[in-house]
Amino acid sequence: MSATAAAPRLQGIRHRRFTVLLTLLAAVAVAVVLSITIGSKSVPLADAWAALTTPTGSENDIIIRSLRVPRTVLGVLAGVALGVAGALMQGHTRNPLADPGLLGVTQGAAFAMVASIILLGASSLLVYIWFGLAGALVASVAVFALGMVGGRGGPTPVTLALAGTAVSAMLYALTSAIVLLDEQAMDVFRFWQAGSIAARGADVVRQVLPFILVGLVLAILNAPGLNALSLGEDVARSLGQNIAMTRTIGVAAVTLLSGAAVAACGSLSFVGLIVPHLARPLSGTDHRWLLPYSGLIGAALLLLADVIGRVVAPPGELEVGVVLALIGAPFFVALVRRRKPVRL
């Protein structure tokens, strides 16, 4: 194809990509509105707007400002973080079934946090989020190492998924051992492990925000390198890529994003797994587009799942982590059934 013929086509693709981006942004906006207005007490849109712009201290104002808004913001942050982390993980391991939840990162963070609470007496999120990040780091490095072993191509999806199951099972056993010896810790832990964005408050949002922002910056920086790596390490090297550097940035980004999300919200599996599969048909294989799409779809998915959890089991709520598993697992099974597990 000649350069003159390619130019308009390329422009068309770019145009389409911006359209998709705007559509996804609109979807997130709709999800945000739903998340702010729907709940055990529905608040009309006009009242919600008034609560945000001209608060009078009414009951609705308090619900919106102190409960719904922090919850929604945390949902957006965690959704973006997990969506991007999932896309990065699937890109780096070239494995369509990679997901921070399935691969043990969540349990790594859980174990480190519970251990720090019980053994070292850490009491505030600000302290134990560091332990959560450290745990997530160790687990993601371990999973990546397992993901890369065997050199060319890495392991099949099934071995990676099993490795994740093994790592998770061991960490979960260690966590249970600690929790079983301390009933108070169990009472905290059982609510954390179900995975929820409710009742976390604005201070939690403020504490995880920097980690997620740094993670997102690293992810964006990682995109071109990841594109080269998806051609294979040899090709990437001959294109002048520093492979060790690209991998390191990738691990750091995955750790920050999934570690922060998990520390704040508990175990939220399947976001990172599903989202890249929804984003890839829209973006193609270019990670510079796949990553932002994944982030936006992740945010919309997490918020919608949370809204569903609020309305399906009145008067109580179903934790968003449970809703996500109920949505995500059928997707996972369908993915597995549709074809032989493929390599990316």
């Binding site: 056993a173 079983l180 109920l326 059934r337």
Partner: protein, 351 residues
């Protein structure tokens, strides 16, 4: 030829088995180790005993320790050994069928299904009866566990079935279904009272604490019925290692044989889980260890069962002594020791 090839044939009517001497020797040796470990395990309790006292207490009716041994310690030790054997046998069957050393009844949804049902039962009954339901504890939990295990396996098997069964698809579907069960379990744990949650947590970690004859008997019965049946099926199992086309041409009705063997494996794992809760990784590791010790092509069934008993009893011994006087559930020890072994297997498989 290596010694592993020394074999004799055992014929009963039209049936015949090849007995490989190395496998037999390891099975016998394993039984001896198992007896020793059980004796060591029975020493532990409110009254410490010597091994001699344990042996005297077991076989001498006039011994002062006889009552404690027979009513408290022997049932616990036997539950551990039998449950371990049943899990290992189940794992050996599933690994042969899935043609995958990494498959286990955990993957088939048995243990996770059982966990969900039991947690649901404990949480529901706790709020209704104030947590004092003796009937639920002795009869309800094993029944719920059995039911949950069978449902879990049926769901995984049904979802993985697509014009036949593919080992890899089975494993991956199992992981997906396990994730759902686990999350539902997490949710149920948040619903209940914290005391019920603590009881449920101990059970879902896999514990041998306070196990009596009522836990020994179901497992013993299941083994007594299913071991001969699975041994009858060894021929199909040996054949199922090959591709479906080859198996069919060898005259084995692939899907029927596979379904029956899987049913046996599921029953074994479900009964074991009903008695002691989900004890992780025994089903996965034992057949692989047995296979390596016996140097055979695929997991030897009886040898795996003995190794399973040995592993579970050894893990229980560690669980009771490592943080003495605190006791950990045995399943935590097997998970902490078993997971690195699984990772090692994955590592080896890739190299």
């Amino acid at each position: 030829m290596p010694t592993s090839e020394i074999a004799v044939s055992l014929r009963v009517g039209t049936l015949s088995w090849r007995l490989r001497l190395r496998g037999v020797a390891i099975t016998v040796f394993g039984l001896a180790v198992l007896a020793l470990l059980m004796a060591l395990n029975m020493r532990i309790g409110d009254i410490e005993m010597t091994v001699a006292e344990v042996i005297a207490g077991t076989f001498d009716q006039n011994s002062p320790a006889h009552f404690i041994i027979m009513e408290l310690r022997l049932p616990r030790a036997l539950t551990g050994a039998l449950v371990g054997a049943a899990l290992a046998l189940s794992g050996a069957i599933i690994q042969s069928i899935a043609r995958n050393p990494l498959a286990s009844p955990e993957i088939l949804g048995v243990t996770t299904g059982a966990s969900v049902m039991v947690v649901a039962g404990v949480v529901a009954s706790g709020s209704v009866y104030g947590g004092t339901s003796g009937l639920l504890a002795t009869l309800g939990i094993p029944a719920l566990s059995l039911l949950g295990g069978l449902i879990g396996a049926a769901v995984v098997y049904g979802l993985a079935w697509r014009r036949g069964l593919d080992g890899y698809r089975l494993v991956l579907v199992g992981i997906g279904v396990a994730a759902v069960f686990t999350n539902v379990k997490f949710w149920l744990l948040t619903v209940g009272d914290v005391n019920d949650t603590a009881r449920a947590m101990v059970w879902i970690s896999g514990s041998l604490n306070g196990r009596g004859w009522e836990h020994v008997m179901p497992t013993a019965l299941a083994l007594a019925v299913l071991v001969p049946l699975t041994l009858l099926g060894t021929r199909s199992l040996d054949a199922l290692r090959f591709s479906d086309d080859t198996v069919t041409s060898l005259g084995v009705r692939t899907n029927l044989a596979r379904a029956l063997m899987i049913l046996a494996a599921v029953l074994l794992a479900a009964v074991a889980t009903a008695s002691a809760g989900p004890i992780a990784f025994v089903a996965l590791a034992s057949p692989q260890i047995a296979l390596r010790l016996a140097r055979s092509g695929q997991p030897p069934l009886l040898c795996s069962a003995v190794i399973g008993g040995v592993l579970t009893t050894a893990a229980d011994l560690i669980a009771r002594t490592a943080f003495s006087p605190l006791e950990l559930p045995v399943g935590i020890v097997t998970a902490v020791l078993g997971a690195p072994y699984l990772i090692h297997l994955i590592w080896r498989a890739r190299k």
